[in-house]
């Protein structure tokens, strides 16, 4: 109850820090999602419609990568970006960019795997038609992606869910620095460690609300587009 009141007070009070943190959460997650989608959808589709040596292994690997522990990914990216690491000269550790890199690594396999499933189902239906029409390569990938666009939104939402809720990786590579790399999940971790459990839970409720809004928004757009299509 107290947590609900905290959440309500923060939202109604237009708490400036809250909106900064929420804004960074959304920015980091959306950019990660954009990159992961641009990479993941074509790769997933390619895997679904092409046969090549080692294809099954690649598919199994990608499925397994969906279960990568975020902390391990965070550590990997940390060691990579550490000033004494191989990419240290870029000076990216403890920046939002570092958080985006970690999240792209985490969510790309999700987008690849889930889009693979969607396109694979479609492929058995389209295969003969596409073959007779000579649709191949990039054109085929684009055609599949377009026709599966509604089902693919679920893949993308799954990626968004992972990105916005993730804490293990971003706290390591971002450092939870106030006004620089502090996002919703790392704030929840911080407030929990300060013993401010009501505030922490209140922030959790706000994060849940954000997730609800995004999902409802995408759902509404999908319904609207479908209706227009068949109208």
């Amino acid at each position: 109850m107290e947590a609900l009141r905290e959440a309500f007070a923060l939202i109604v009070g237009l708490d400036a820090d809250l909106f900064e943190i929420l804004g960074l959460s959304i920015r980091v997650s959306l950019i990660s999602l954009l990159v992961a989608t641009l990479v993941g959808l074509p790769v997933g589709t390619y895997l679904a419609i092409n046969d090549f040596r080692g294809r099954r292994i690649v598919i199994i690997m990608t499925n397994a990568l969906m279960g990568m522990p975020p902390v391990a990914v965070g550590l990997m990216v940390y060691l990579l970006l550490s000033r004494s690491g191989p990419l240290g000269v870029l000076g990216l550790l403890y920046t939002p960019t570092a958080m985006i890199i970690a999240q792209v690594i985490l969510i790309t396999p999700i987008i690849v795997s889930l889009s693979f499933q969607v396109i694979e189902n479609l492929e058995s239906e389209y295969r003969d038609t596409f073959r007779s029409l000579g649709v191949r390569g990039g054109r085929a990938i684009r055609a599949y992606l377009w026709d599966a666009r509604y089902a693919l939104t679920t893949c993308i939402l799954a990626g968004f869910g992972r990105a916005i809720s993730e804490v293990g990786a971003v706290i390591i590579v971002g450092g939870n620095i106030d006004h620089l790399t502090r996002v919703m999940t790392t704030t929840i971790a911080l407030e929990t460690s300060r013993g401010n459990l009501d505030l922490a839970l209140g922030l959790g409720i706000i994060l849940l609300l954000l997730s609800l809004i995004v999902n409802a928004g995408v759902g509404a757009i999908k319904e609207f587009a479908k209706k227009r299509q068949y109208a």
């Binding site: 000033r83 403890y94 920046t95 985006i100 450092g175 013993g195």
Partner: protein, 269 residues
């Protein structure tokens, strides 16, 4: 522009944005100074006086030192004097200054099952905890607090490791998480006073033992060496250190209070 090129542009511009604060420093810090709210109080003053943007990464002392050894910080602000002196001796830091102190306390449930309120020393308190079969939650993370606690067990001639998972609970987490766990299972926890005063989930736990000089908790500040780590912002790190140990900085530390109680006592040398 192709979509991937747009994405790349977005990433690069994000990176450029993050680098916009050229005159910024990263402080590898212990958690207690952050959880106690000290930085929230000091940083606006430091940023106003020095023009620096100060970014604080708060982790356990052990991890903070390791991060700084990897050059991922410009200043180290921790509380484990022996480890700090090794850090400087190994060439990672320029020089160490005492900054301030507070003390450790042992908190425990209201019934005080081990009766440590009557203990004559910290060592006596730990002995009573172990003898009475009470639970003790340890950081278990190589932090400054953990190092101190292990030293006290050693002084008491008790090896808690065989009881690990039974009465000796090593959380491997920060101070706050360890307090949450310890209080949740009715265990005793050793914590720095500042974190405890600011801690929001005390329930029925409170300070059951304090005041032994053996529980003294010294904080030190060390700029990371530009020789070992060429990427270090040495002028920024030095300015930060100088501000903290200046009369103004020391007075500011003394002025920081929670519920009318000072949390840290300045003693820069």
């Amino acid at each position: 522009m192709r979509p991937s090129a747009i994405a790349l542009a977005v990433i690069v511009s994000t990176a450029a944005h993050a680098d916009a604060h050229a005159d910024s420093i990263i402080v590898q810090s212990t958690t207690s100074t952050k959880n106690s709210g000290l930085y929230d109080y000091l940083l606006p003053m430091i940023e106003a006086d020095t023009g620096l943007t100060v970014n604080v990464v708060a982790v356990g002392t052990g991890q903070a030192i390791k991060n700084a050894e990897r050059c991922d910080g410009d200043v180290l602000l921790v509380h484990a004097k022996a480890a700090e002196e090794r850090f400087v001796a190994a060439g990672f830091g320029t020089e160490r200054h005492n900054l301030m102190y507070n003390d450790f306390v042992i908190v425990g449930p209201a019934e005080d099952p081990a009766g440590i309120a009557a203990a004559t020393s910290a060592v006596d308190a730990l002995t009573r905890i172990q003898r009475s079969g009470s639970k003790f939650a340890s950081r278990g993370d190589d932090s400054g607090t953990h190092k101190k606690e292990r030293a006290l067990w050693a002084a008491a001639n008790i090896d808690p490791d065989p009881g690990s998972g039974q009465w000796y609970l090593e959380t491997g987490s920060g101070m706050g998480a360890t307090l949450n766990t310890g209080i949740g299972v009715g265990a005793y926890v050793m914590t720095d006073r500042a974190t405890w005063l600011k801690f929001g989930n005390k329930q029925d736990a409170d300070i059951r033992f304090d005041g032994d000089p053996a529980l003294f908790n010294q904080y030190g500040v060390i700029p990371v060496s530009g020789d070992k780590c060429p990427s270090t912002n040495t002028p920024g790190a030095t300015a930060f250190r100088d501000w903290l140990i200046s009369d103004k900085g020391q007075q500011a530390i003394a002025n920081y209070q929670v519920d009318g109680k000072p949390l840290f006592f300045p003693n820069a040398d």
